[in-house]
């Protein structure tokens, strides 16, 4: 193999490798993590964050506008303190509310921001005070079951079918 030909093929090889990397960079992936200088940090306290993870998206009206950067447990308030970076292009009023939501029934959890009406905007290091925690499926189901049991008990007393449902009847008598 002649020297010039080797150079040619190696050049082609390197170019093909770079094209493959560019393909991976622009067609396959996205730099979803915003550059640190283009973001500002906010925080919010939640009673329960459920399964929220760092790097989870922050969405407003369903559009991703930032990422969760850190989750710590605050030993003074006994709440979870979530800090997140938001794109500088988007400003939020001070009475914005944050809620931990789930995309779909079993999807990933994210923080949804609902803008308020205040004139003053949240600034770097600001805190969102109006928050609602993640819905824990087990709690939801147990609450549903308890209310069902309650209903069943009331129905048994009213309808006089106590003999068929002694357990719930007993609970009501108590």
């Amino acid at each position: 193999m002649k020297r010039g030909l080797i150079d040619f093929w190696v050049g082609l090889f390197v170019a093909a490798g770079i094209v493959a990397l560019l393909f991976l960079a622009f067609k396959v992936s996205s730099t979803s993590m915003l550059v640190a200088s283009d973001t500002y940090t906010l925080s919010a306290n939640f009673e329960n964050i459920g399964g929220l993870k760092t790097r989870a998206p922050i969405k407003s009206s369903g559009v991703v506008i930032g990422r969760v950067t850190g989750i710590i447990f605050d030993p003074h308030t006994y709440m979870a303190k979530v800090s997140f970076a938001i794109d500088k292009r988007y400003q939020f009023s001070r009475d914005t509310s944050a809620a931990i939501l789930t995309s779909g029934l079993l999807g990933e959890q994210y923080i949804g921001l609902e803008p308020g009406a205040d004139d003053r905007m949240l600034e770097e290091g600001g805190r969102i005070t109006i928050t609602s925690s993640a819905v824990v499926l087990e709690q939801l189901i147990s609450r549903f079951l308890f209310s069902k049991a309650q209903e069943g008990g009331n129905g048994a007393e009213g309808g006089g079918t106590a003999a068929t449902e002694p357990k719930s009847n007993h609970a009501v008598e108590k």
């Binding site: 190696v10 090889f13 390197v14 094209v19 990397l21 992936s29 979803s32 790097r55």
Partner: protein
């Protein structure tokens, strides 16, 4: 009695001492390669030839294997995902498994068996035919002239080959997922884009392949240089290159993955 015990323990200890000695020799050999790298990198045409030998000639096997693996991933992934009504996430499955794991790992395994074994055989045969000794006689350092260019040729080729493997695999996944199974092309690409992070996934994959490139190239040149200078010795060294490379690649992969994707 004491004699038997001494013999028993020395027989038990011998393999460990040998392995440790070899590891130490490999470490010093690595340092020697790095020390002689500037001289060999200045004459870049030597390294150029090795990139051609290790990289360009591996493009075909890497590209075709990548395409097939991407196609198989798409076929198998679709079969499972469609049960959960999540077949539109096929792009994510194919892209993440290729970019994070299969591209660097399978690429490196193929590279070790295609190029690594050839490098070992070449250097081993040079040693067996006393070409390396002849070079030393002519005051040419064989590490700078023969070993370092082959090492750097492998290190430079590996990340490029791994990127090609991943790219071809994703194209294969696209061909099967969109053209054959009839998924929507738009959601295939956009879901993939939203789930694959450039810095976390693509760059980490490239970092992995650089580590694998260093490991495979070092093992290949070392086994060749260390080979017993006989026909049998060279064949044994070639086998050891492939086996050790495979084990080291998979072991390194576990360690690197544990550092990179801990799922915080």
């Amino acid at each position: 009695m004491a004699d038997v015990l001494v013999r028993f323990f020395s027989r038990l200890g011998a393999p460990f001492t040998d392995a440790l000695l070899k590891l130490g020799f490999a470490g010093r050999f690595f340092v020697a390669i790095l020390r002689h790298s500037p001289t060999s990198l200045l004459r870049f045409s030597l390294t150029m030839r090795e990139i051609w030998f290790a990289g360009v000639l591996s493009v075909l096997i890497i590209g075709v294997s990548g395409l097939f693996i991407g196609m198989v991933l798409a076929l198998q992934g679709y079969d499972t995902l469609v049960r959960f009504g999540a077949s539109s996430s096929l792009g994510i499955l194919v892209a993440l498994s290729l970019v994070r794991e299969l591209g660097p790992v399978v690429g490196a395994l193929l590279f070790a068996s295609r190029a690594g074994s050839a490098i070992t055989a070449e250097i081993g045969l040079m040693k067996a035919t006393e070409q390396l000794s002849a070079m030393e006689m002519m005051a040419v350092n064989p590490i700078a002239r023969v070993v370092a260019p082959r090492f750097w040729g492998g290190v430079i080729s590996m990340p490029l080959l791994a990127a090609m493997f991943s790219a071809m695999g994703i194209i294969g996944g696209y061909l099967v997922g969109v053209q054959l199974l009839g998924l929507d092309s738009g959601s295939f690409w956009s879901q993939m884009q939203s789930a694959v992070d450039f810095r976390l996934d693509v760059i980490n994959g490239v970092i992995k392949s650089i580590f694998f490139g260093i490991a495979v190239s070092l093992i290949a040149v070392f086994e060749g240089y260390d080979a017993t200078p006989t026909a049998e010795g060279v064949s044994g060294a070639t086998t050891r290159t492939v086996v050790t490379s495979a084990l080291v690649i998979l072991g390194l992969d576990v360690i690197l993955t544990a550092f990179m994707f801990r799922g915080v």
